[in-house]
């Protein structure tokens, strides 16, 4: 009796153990099938250390924007004769995807592996799957942009040409106009004023400068510096005589000019001089 009870207990335990193991295995499969990976539209999903039997896999090239999902092989690790993979999956449309469909063998052999499902769920409501289209407003400025750009370019170019040619030309023209007067022409009214006794100090100084230039033009000394010109004129007998008279007239202390300078006699030869030109 006791022995038969023990046998019963052992039998019951064996049966119980078998049924528990079988149900556990069944539950694991179901669990594997039901534990589906999930992500949302556009968000990457990392699938780490996934073992896929066979030779090395690579991601299929994403050649068409109509393909609703893509896979990236982050890293692969040898695993015996197989490989483990770190994958990144991204779905662009809601739905259920087999990751294996987006992989291919590196050696171009056939890929026949158990599916690896990923469910891509939408974030937006069903009736708001597409973004609201932007209003297509036509800008008036945008429509005239190219013509405005073209006209501005022409105005800028015209301004540049005007500065380069007209501006310089005006300056040169102005300088030419001032240089048209010869020293003789310039000093004639000053000499007249000097002889009339109405010459101011500033005009005296101006007359002195013009007389130097008159001699410079007469002796062709235009290439000399002002200092060299004065030195050269000092060495010329006639010009030096004129300079000494002017020194006596304008630059020596008044008490020394008792001998007086005959300004008429000094300036008369230059009054009617028209021979010298620039």
């Amino acid at each position: 009796m006791r022995f038969s009870f023990i046998l019963f207990l052992l039998g019951a335990l064996c049966v119980g153990g078998f049924t528990t193991r079988a149900s556990a295995q069944e539950e694991g499969v179901n669990k594997k099938e039901t534990a589906e990976l999930k992500t949302t539209v556009g968000f990457p999903l990392r699938i780490l250390q996934t073992k896929i039997p066979g030779s090395h896999l690579i991601a299929k090239p994403y050649t068409d924007q109509r393909i609703p999902a893509m896979v990236r092989v982050i890293e692969s690790f040898p695993h015996g004769t197989d490989f483990r993979y770190d994958l990144e999956f991204r779905g662009f449309e809601p739905g259920r995807y087999n990751v294996i469909d987006y992989l291919q063998r590196e050696d171009d052999t056939e890929l026949a592996s158990a599916p690896l499902w990923v469910k891509v769920e939408p974030i937006l409501d069903a009736d708001k799957v597409r973004p609201i289209p932007l209003p297509q407003k036509s800008s008036q400025f945008r429509s005239y942009y190219i013509p405005i750009l073209f006209v501005s370019g022409i105005i800028w170019l015209a301004g540049l040409l005007a500065i380069l040619f007209y501006g310089r030309g005006t300056l040169k023209k102005a300088s030419v106009v001032t240089k048209k007067m010869t020293p003789a022409e310039k000093m004639r009214p000053l000499i007249d004023a000097a002889i009339n006794g109405s010459l101011t100090t500033a005009q005296q100084a101006e007359l002195e400068r013009i007389l130097s230039e008159f001699w410079s033009a007469k002796l062709n000394l235009g290439h000399l510096s002002a200092d060299q010109l004065r030195s050269t004129l000092r060495e010329h007998p006639e010009a030096n005589r004129m300079l000494e008279q002017i020194d006596l007239w304008l630059h020596r202390p008044s008490s020394e000019t008792t001998a007086s300078v005959d300004v008429n006699a000094l300036l008369k030869p230059y009054q009617d001089s028209t021979t010298v030109s620039e």
Partner: protein, 345 residues
């Protein structure tokens, strides 16, 4: 109208008149002695000597621009010995400090008190060699001392000796690592003279003299003599002669017509289309001062436009700045200045 009538219109500034008096004649003799003494060791460079004397007699400062080896140091050295003046030379470098020139307070460990150690600026003739190699703060410190003729050390003012003349040099080449003096500081120099190489005849004379210098026995050996060894320690004049010369410069007559010339030139620099910066009033003052000294050196007691034209480049050129258009057209400061001086309209 007579010259007397014409001159009577001029309101000349009050100055002495008449022929050179005995004092001026003595000054002219003194100047001639200096020139003769300088000529014993320096060949040529008459213009530089004249500029140095102008600076000395007017109390202005001089900037010499030229390549090394043109006897700048020798010239200043012989000038100081000839007039019996103290002379100091400072080689400007990038790491020079203002206190290296002006002086500083140092702690006397015996007395435990600060005492003032005066720098080389406390002299009569200071040669600031290659002034553009020093940092701007050093240049600024020296130029401030030049302007105010006094130095502040540790909160105490120390007047600089009289006469006080700075002769600075700068090298027109090797501009890398230099600090160009700005216009405002260049304006402090009465003149900037550009040294040129000696003429071939002068160069031959330099070589002949150098070949005859010989050696000087020192201790157990000997050293080759230089021009500095040829300098006579006997001065050609005293400080009284110098004061008399400075006084004589003040008596040189400046006519109103001459002032008109200066004002006209200064105004032309300010209104010239090719110049961005014209001359300051200080330039006009410097022109008159320098012209008076040149007139005296040339034996005249009145200035003439020759003085003005001879000095214009040295006094004006460093005070003007070309504008962009002038630079683009290839003008130089000298060419623009000559066009100003030669213009008669």
């Amino acid at each position: 109208m007579t010259g007397q009538d014409a001159t009577s219109q001029v309101n000349s500034i009050p100055q002495s008149t008449g022929e050179p008096n005995q004092e001026i004649k003595e000054v002219i003799e003194f100047i001639e002695k200096i020139r003769t003494r300088v000529a014993t060791v320096v060949v040529g460079q008459d213009v530089v000597v004249e500029r140095l004397l102008i600076a000395l007699f007017t109390g202005g400062h001089l900037l010499l621009q030229g390549v090394p080896g043109l006897a700048k140091t020798l010239l200043v050295s012989v000038l100081s010995k000839t007039i019996d003046l103290e002379f100091a030379r400072v080689q400007f470098t990038i790491d020079l400090l203002p206190s290296d020139i002006l002086g500083s307070e140092v702690l006397d460990q015996k007395t435990n008190e600060f005492r003032v150690h005066k720098g080389p600026v406390f002299t009569n003739l200071l040669l600031a060699d290659e002034i553009n190699r020093a940092a701007p703060k050093v240049q600024g410190a020296l130029l401030e001392a030049m302007q105010e003729r006094k130095v502040t050390i540790g909160g105490e003012n120390f007047p600089l000796p009289a006469p006080f003349l700075v002769i600075a040099t700068q090298n027109p080449v090797e501009q890398a690592g230099t600090f160009e003096l700005p216009e405002a500081q260049l304006d402090r120099f009465m003149m900037l003279h550009r040294l040129v190489y000696p003429k071939p005849e002068e160069e031959k004379e330099i070589l002949r003299r150098n070949a005859q210098l010989g050696i000087r026995v020192e201790g157990k050996g000997a050293v080759a003599q230089t021009e500095f060894d040829m300098l006579s320690n006997e001065p050609a004049g005293t400080s009284d002669n110098l004061i008399a010369a400075m006084q004589a410069v003040q008596q040189v007559y400046v006519s109103e017509a001459f002032i008109e010339h200066i004002v006209e030139i200064i105004n032309r620099t300010r209104n010239h289309p090719l110049l961005e910066l014209g001359c300051s009033p200080r330039a006009g003052i410097s022109l008159i001062k320098a012209s008076r000294a040149r007139a005296l050196i040339r034996g005249r007691h009145y200035v003439v436009p020759d003085d003005l034209y001879a000095l214009a480049e040295d006094v004006i050129l460093h005070r003007i700045r070309l504008n962009y258009e002038a630079l683009a057209d290839g003008h130089t400061g000298a060419s623009v200045l000559q066009s100003i001086l030669r213009e008669f309209d």
